[in-house]
Every structure is written in structure tokens, then in C-alpha cells.
């Protein structure tokens, strides 16, 4: 088979604000055969998107291709003029972005945007282009293929929009399609449908593809070959099966082991006699947003009569898809969003609905860590100042005491002490999340609410954070309420899991049990999590009734 793409010794450089030249890609070479799908995998900052973009002869602002060649179908994209590249983009190589919602213009209909490439390159008359678009909609398994084009981007769901952006990329029948993390922002149940659609269209059309992702399990379903990247260099190249089963490079092994976190060693379930009163008892909570209606409930109900209890020293996982109310639950417990109905009883005392009316001691024992580590840290304060505040606020510590305690906290979360003089923007994502954790620990809490704290992090970094959480629990006797959409992280740390759907708790169960979930929605959710098996997607059979009832595609 002839090679469609040949990349030789590619180098990309960027110039920093200080005028320093940074090598982002350091001499990468690989080929893509015709009809082959190659995955680029690695953590954020490993250069995977940068490489993918060079296939279109494009380098992001401030970057430039400084060496090597990228030959696509015999032409070197690096040497072509901008005009020649523009002629190739869209017709021979096209791009499916990570966030389809951001890639569509909200003011134009979907059809206008899908056929835009044929208009720009003057490929075919509008009517033909529309016909082709409709057949692509069918191939991508979109509902109402005849009429979906006349809608506007906000009138379709996220998963549909992602498939529509693929239709946009495929309309001119390109030889190579670049997928840049197209399913990362989607829910697992939606992700399956999108992956299936991509796979069938690519195989049918015999197109080559580059699939950029950090998720090994997703890549395993769609790619023929995997290229593992780190720090702008290729670590390992191999067929998908070989990478998954017999990785050669240490880094690949690290990635694989991070993907399957160790199961949580469950403490013995307490016997009835030893049963302590629960640490957290949530009774019949309803909460939401918008004006209060006649029945005393808000217009948008995010939580509908949710109850659960959590015992001291144990961990509770809350899982569900986006919009199921799991973050709202944490906000209600933390007093950020007062509930309209129901009670939160924590450590034997009923908590006031709003944090403003709670006592300092109650607030101290209940801390929360947020999903986005960077927005949760004040960018204009040093890490030392951020960590000192809860110390003086809750414990009334003096300057010197604070300083030594800040050092202790940084040791606890495995950060170098010198970090305290830095600001949040000077730390990496994983380091920031550790600082957030240290701030919660500074209060010496009994319970930490973790709201998706690992989902914005790379797998390897996330696994390290989970290990840290477990270790801290052993040392300090904490309890966690762990909110996530990712089943494997929850299984790694929690004793019990509650599954939420559309604001309701649909199931409560212990992790690691043989029988598995009972509620149909939990079954759908659990079976939708991609596995590290190349045949998983093809062999997966979901009950279509279940899917139509629960999956919001």
C-alpha cells in the first residue's frame, strides 16, 4: 500500500514572551498508509494536536514549522504557498475539531455550513452538495437526515453536532481526515454512537484518518495504529493490538496502568453493632434555578428529592452524565446553592441552607474541591497566601505558625515547598489541583466534596491524584464524596456509588460487587464505558429501547 502521508523529521518551534525559543515537536517521523487510521496519543502538551495541524500545513499562532517535511499525496505541505495550501484544505485534508459547538456559527443553518466547503472550492452545484450532505447525515446515523440541515446549531444536541461537524469535513471527499479529540466533551452514552458513526463512514469511504486523543480506550476502538507521544517526541509506534497487549516503552506501560486504576481496597463493611451515626445524611433534597413556582419549587429543577447517607471514613461516589444534577448536589451540601426543600444533616447537626448562615466550625469540617483547578485559585495571589487564608480564618494562626503549616500542607500533597512563592499560572494542571486539595486540607475537614476533580487532568496525572487521595484518607481519616462522570475513577476510590439521572437518584450500590447494577439506566451507563479492547465497540450490543429511553443524543 502506498503511503498517503509521509512525515519526516518534523520540527515545530514557538517563541515565548521572553524571546526564548521552545521546541514543541522535536524531529517526528511517521507514515500513514491509504485507508489507515492512525491515532496520536499522549498527555496535554505532548504535541499531538500540533502534529495533526501540520498535516494541513498549519501552525498555531506563535508557532512555526522549523524543519522537516510533511508530504501529503506527494506534495510537501511545509513548502507550499499559503494559497496552494488553502486549495488543499477541505478538499484533500479536513479537520474535525474538539468542540463542535464552538466550531459552528450560531447564526447560520447547519446546511449552509456543511456545504460551505463545496461553495468555497466551487466543487459542485448547491443542490448536488445538499444531496451529498443528506446522504452523509444518513451514513452518520443522524435522526431526520432530510430536515436536520435546516436547523440551527443550538437546536441539535452535542453528539449530533459533533457528527454534523464530521459531515462538514467529509463533504468534499477528502483523502485524509483529522479528528481532534472529537468525543472528549461528550457523555459516554453519546460517545458510543458518535464513534460508531465515525468508524463506519471512514471504513466505507476508505479514507485515511488521524485521530488525536488522550483516551486509550476510545482510540482502541477506531485506530489501526497508535503513536504514543510525549514532550514532542515519539515514544512508541505500533499496531493497536500490540500497544494494548504488549507495550514496549515504559511510558506506554505507565499510560496503560493509569487507565485501569487499582480497585479500592474496601474496609470491612461495619457490622450493625459498630454502626456509627452517619457523617452526612441528606434527606429528600430538592433544588434548582429560576423563579419559584406555585408549588414552591423552582422552574428548573436540578435535584428532585434526593436522599443518601455517608458514614465516617467511607467514600461515596456520585456518577451520572452532564446535566444530571450531580454538581448541584455538591453545591447544595456546601451551601453554595440553598435547597428549596429537604435537610442536610452533617456530623449530627442540621446545616443551615446557605453557607452565609452556617457556623464557622460547620463550614470548616466540610470542604469542597472544584473541577477546574485553575479558576478555583485566585490568579493574583501567591500559593502561600492562598493556603494561609483558611489557616488564619478557621484556626486563627499567627504569621510564623502559618508559614510552617503551609510547608507541611505542601509536603502532604507532594509539592515542593518553594511552590508557595509562585502563582497559580506558574503551575501545571496537576499541581494546581494539588494546591486546591491542600487548601481544603488546611481547614482540617472531616468530609471533602470532590467535584470532578480529575476529569480535566491527563490520565497519568489523574491516577496520581487518586493515589494521593487514598493516602491522605489513611493518614487523616477523611471521608470523600466523589463526583464524576467516569466510572473507573469512582470505582478506584469509593465504597458506595449512587447513580443519578435527570436530577433523581436512580440507584445506590456498593462498588466491586458481583451482581452489577440493577437499574436499566445504570446498566446502560456502565456498559457504555469504553474498554481497552479493540473489539469492544463492534461486539457491544446495547438494548435499543434502553438507549432511546435514556441516552440524550
Amino acid at each position: 500500500m502506498a503511503n498517503l502521508v509521509e512525515i519526516r523529521d518534523l520540527k515545530v518551534e514557538a517563541t515565548s514572551d521572553a524571546g526564548r525559543v521552545i521546541e514543541i515537536i522535536r524531529g517526528v517521523s511517521f507514515d500513514i498508509a491509504e485507508g489507515e487510521i492512525v491515532a496520536l496519543i499522549g498527555e496535554s502538551g505532548s504535541g499531538k494536536t500540533t502534529i495533526a495541524l501540520t498535516l494541513m500545513g498549519y501552525a498555531r499562532n506563535g508557532c512555526r514549522i522549523s524543519g522537516g517535511s510533511v508530504s501529503l499525496d506527494g506534495r510537501d505541505m511545509v513548502r507550499l504557498s499559503e494559497r496552494e495550501r488553502a486549495a488543499i484544505r477541505g478538499t484533500e485534508v479536513s479537520y474535525v475539531p474538539q468542540s463542535a459547538a464552538a466550531a459552528f456559527n450560531p447564526a447560520q443553518t447547519i446546511m449552509d455550513q456543511v456545504v460551505e466547503i463545496t461553495r468555497i472550492h466551487d466543487l459542485m452545484p448547491r443542490a448536488d452538495a445538499e444531496q451529498r450532505a443528506v446522504s452523509l447525515f444518513k451514513a452518520l446515523n443522524l435522526p431526520n437526515p432530510q430536515s436536520i440541515g435546516s436547523r440551527y446549531p443550538h437546536q441539535v444536541s452535542g453528539g449530533q453536532l459533533q457528527r454534523l461537524s464530521a459531515a462538514m469535513a467529509l463533504i468534499a471527499d477528502p483523502k485524509l481526515v483529522i479528528f481532534d479529540e472529537p468525543t472528549t466533551a461528550l457523555d459516554v452514552t453519546t460517545q458510543i454512537e458518535v464513534l460508531r458513526a465515525f468508524k463506519s463512514v471512514m471504513k466505507k469511504g476508505g479514507m485515511s484518518g488521524v485521530y488525536v486523543s488522550h483516551d486509550l480506550a476510545v482510540v482502541a476502538q477506531i485506530a489501526d495504529r497508535i503513536i504514543v507521544l510525549k514532550g514532542g517526541e515519539i515514544q512508541e509506534v505500533g499496531a493497536t493490538e500490540q500497544i494494548l497487549t504488549a507495550p514496549q516503552h515504559d511510558y506506554t506501560r505507565e499510560l496503560l496502568s493509569a487507565f485501569t486504576p487499582k480497585q479500592h481496597a474496601r474496609p470491612q463493611a461495619p457490622t450493625a453493632a459498630a454502626r456509627k451515626p452517619p457523617l452526612l445524611d441528606v434527606l429528600d433534597i430538592s433544588a434548582g434555578y429560576g423563579p419559584i413556582q406555585a408549588d414552591g419549587l423552582p422552574l428548573m429543577r436540578a435535584l428532585k428529592s434526593v436522599s443518601f447517607r455517608l458514614e465516617e471514613g467511607r467514600n461515596l461516589g456520585v456518577i451520572g452524565e452532564s446535566g444530571c444534577g450531580k454538581s448541584t448536589l455538591a453545591r447544595v451540601i456546601a451551601g453554595i446553592l440553598p435547597q428549596v426543600k429537604g435537610d442536610v444533616i452533617f456530623d449530627g447537626r442540621q446545616l443551615a441552607r446557605s453557607a452565609a448562615h452556617r457556623q464557622k466550625e460547620e463550614l470548616r469540617k466540610l470542604q469542597m474541591v472544584f473541577q477546574f483547578a485553575d479558576t478555583a485559585l485566585n490568579p493574583s495571589k501567591s500559593i502561600g497566601d492562598i493556603l494561609s487564608r483558611p489557616l488564619s480564618f478557621y484556626h486563627g494562626m499567627g504569621r510564623r505558625q502559618q508559614e510552617s503549616r503551609v510547608c507541611e500542607l505542601l509536603d502532604m500533597v507532594r509539592l515542593p515547598r518553594a511552590v508557595r512563592h509562585r502563582r497559580a499560572s506558574e503551575l501545571s494542571g496537576g499541581q494546581k489541583q494539588r494546591v486546591n486539595l491542600a487548601r481544603a486540607l488546611a481547614a482540617e475537614p472531616k468530609l471533602i466534596l470532590c467535584d470532578e476533580i480529575t476529569s480535566a487532568l491527563d490520565t497519568v496525572v489523574a491516577a496520581a491524584i487518586l493515589d494521593l487521595l487514598k493516602e491522605l484518607q489513611r493518614e487523616l481519616g477523611l471521608s470523600y464524596m466523589f463526583i464524576s462522570h467516569d466510572l473507573s475513577t469512582v470505582q478506584a476510590i469509593c465504597d458506595e456509588v449512587i447513580v443519578m439521572y435527570n436530577g433523581e437518584k436512580v440507584e445506590e450500590m456498593a462498588t466491586g460487587l458481583e451482581e452489577g447494577p440493577g437499574h436499566p439506566y445504570s446498566r446502560l451507563l456502565f456498559s457504555s464505558v469504553p474498554k481497552l479492547d479493540t473489539r469492544w465497540l463492534d461486539s457491544l450490543e446495547l438494548d435499543p429501547e434502553l438507549v432511546s429511553a435514556f441516552a440524550r443524543r
Partner: protein, 280 residues
């Protein structure tokens, strides 16, 4: 942001050349304002030249005005009024506006609604008319002028600060502080203010220029600084008749206004930055 190659360092702070120029301009005018009574060559009210709109000469460095008074002396003394009144007024209006704006954003609800509508109503009164009524009612004195100018420019500063604070207020780190149980004052001072300081200072620079211009407008109407004293705006106005003759009497007060306002803006856009050692 591109870092300028020329940086000056002192006492743990660094400032670039543009900021330094701005600082020197503002500092020298402030010095002039303080020292004016001792350095003026002629008393400001005295007619010293028989010619009007006199040219630059050995005796009158910047020429003479429409009555034959020495322009250099009048500019030097005018600095007291322009720099003093405008600076104090802009400080009051920005402090008040920013403090109220941040409070409204953090507290929200009724407090925010009522305060915002009240200040909007204040904003809807034309500034010259407002000044006219107040000064006509109470009489013109320097404290009255300062307070009038401050009140006229408070709603703008409030709107600006509130819009910025509302954005910061939704950030997670503010939520964290709220959940910790922090009071409004801490939220404003420690979480919000440091993050809006840059734009607020830039706004202060602009507002300063507006106040200088409004002050000269009021002086023109006879409501500002009372003769024989004059601020720079009034100097421009009273000598505007000399423009066809290219009289220095109208050019130099204009240059004085320009140098002060540009100096303030250069300084504010390039404030000294604390040197933070990244290696530790």
C-alpha cells in the same frame, strides 16, 4: 504581552522606559503645583506687557496673554488647580465608584438593583448642567468643585467596576471563599480587587482626562476656578482669540494639558511591576 527590552529596576520593582517617562511627567507637574508660588516670575494677576498675545521673549518665556499677563506664571499657578482639583476628584470618584461597584456585584439582589438604578439616574443628568446647577446653587469654591466633579464621574466608575466584578464574582475561587464563610469585605478586597486592578487603573487615567476637560468647561462658563486665578482649561478658553495669530498664549496651556494627561496614561499603562523571582 511583549516585554520591553529597557527595564529599570529598583527596590524589588521594575518599570519600563515608557512608564518611567510617564512617571517623570506626572511627578514634575506635581512638583510644579507644590512649588508654584515660589518659582513664578510675575504675579499672576499683574499686567506686565503693554502688548497682548505677546511672543516668546527673554522677559516672557512663554509670551503674554490677551491682557498682557505672563503666561508662564499663569501656567505654573494653574497647575495647582488643574492637577490638584482633578486628581482629588478622580480619586474620590474612582474610590467611591469601584468600592460600590464591587459591593453591588458581590452582594447582588436588591442592593445591586437599587444602587444601579439610582446611579443610572444620576448618570442621565448632563454633566455640565449638573455642575451649573450645583455651583449656581451653592456657590463656587474649590471643595464644591471637587465634590461636584467627583459625583458626576462616580456612576461611570461604578458601572465599569461592577461589570468587571460580576465576571470575577462567578469564578470558582470566589465561590470557594464564600463557602469558606468569608465576609463581603474580604471578598472585595482580597479576591476581587486584585483581579480588576489593571482595567480600573486604566479607567482612572481616562476619567482623569475627562475631569480636566470638564473642569476647563466649567471655568469657561465662569463656574470653575474664579479669576484672576485660572486652571489650564480656562487659560486655553480665555486665550482662544489668539489662535489666528499663532499666539503662544493658547498653545502652551494646551501642551501642558496634553503632557499631563498623556503622562498619567503612560504611567498607568506601564505601572511598575514587582519582580518575582521564579527560580525560588
Amino acid at each position: 504581552m511583549m516585554r520591553s527590552a529597557t527595564q529599570f529596576r529598583a527596590a524589588g520593582y521594575s518599570i519600563n522606559i515608557v512608564g518611567l517617562i510617564g512617571f517623570l511627567l506626572v511627578f514634575s507637574w506635581a512638583l510644579v503645583a507644590i512649588l508654584a508660588p515660589w518659582i513664578i516670575p510675575y504675579p499672576i494677576g499683574e499686567i506686565v506687557d503693554f502688548d497682548y498675545f505677546g511672543p516668546i521673549s527673554d522677559k516672557f518665556w512663554l509670551g503674554t496673554d490677551y491682557l498682557g499677563r505672563d503666561i508662564l506664571s499663569r501656567i505654573l499657578m494653574g497647575a495647582r488647580y488643574t492637577v490638584g482639583i482633578s486628581l482629588i476628584a478622580v480619586m474620590i470618584s474612582c474610590t467611591l465608584g469601584v468600592a460600590l461597584g464591587m459591593t453591588a456585584a458581590v452582594v447582588g439582589g436588591w442592593f445591586d438593583t437599587i444602587l444601579s438604578r439610582f446611579l443610572d439616574a444620576l448618570n442621565s443628568i448632563p454633566s455640565k448642567l449638573f455642575g451649573l446647577v450645583v455651583v449656581a446653587g451653592i456657590g463656587s469654591s474649590i471643595p464644591v468643585l471637587i465634590m461636584t466633579l467627583a459625583i458626576i464621574y462616580t456612576p461611570g466608575a461604578y458601572r465599569f467596576a461592577r461589570a468587571l466584578s460580576v465576571n470575577i464574582n462567578t469564578m470558582d475561587f470566589v465561590t470557594v471563599a464564600r463557602a469558606r464563610g468569608e465576609g463581603t469585605f474580604f471578598l472585595i478586597r482580597s479576591e476581587i480587587l486584585p483581579n480588576i486592578l489593571g482595567p480600573v487603573l486604566a479607567d482612572l487615567g481616562l476619567r482623569f482626562v475627562f475631569i480636566v476637560l470638564l473642569l476647563s468647561g466649567l471655568s469657561f462658563l465662569g463656574l470653575g476656578v474664579q479669576p484672576p486665578n485660572a486652571d489650564w482649561g480656562a487659560l486655553v478658553r480665555e486665550n482662544i482669540g489668539g489662535l489666528p495669530f499663532g499666539a503662544p498664549a493658547v498653545i502652551f496651556p494646551s501642551i501642558a494639558i496634553a503632557s499631563l494627561t498623556i503622562g498619567v496614561n503612560l504611567l498607568i499603562d506601564n505601572l511598575p511591576q514587582k519582580i518575582r523571582d521564579r527560580s525560588t
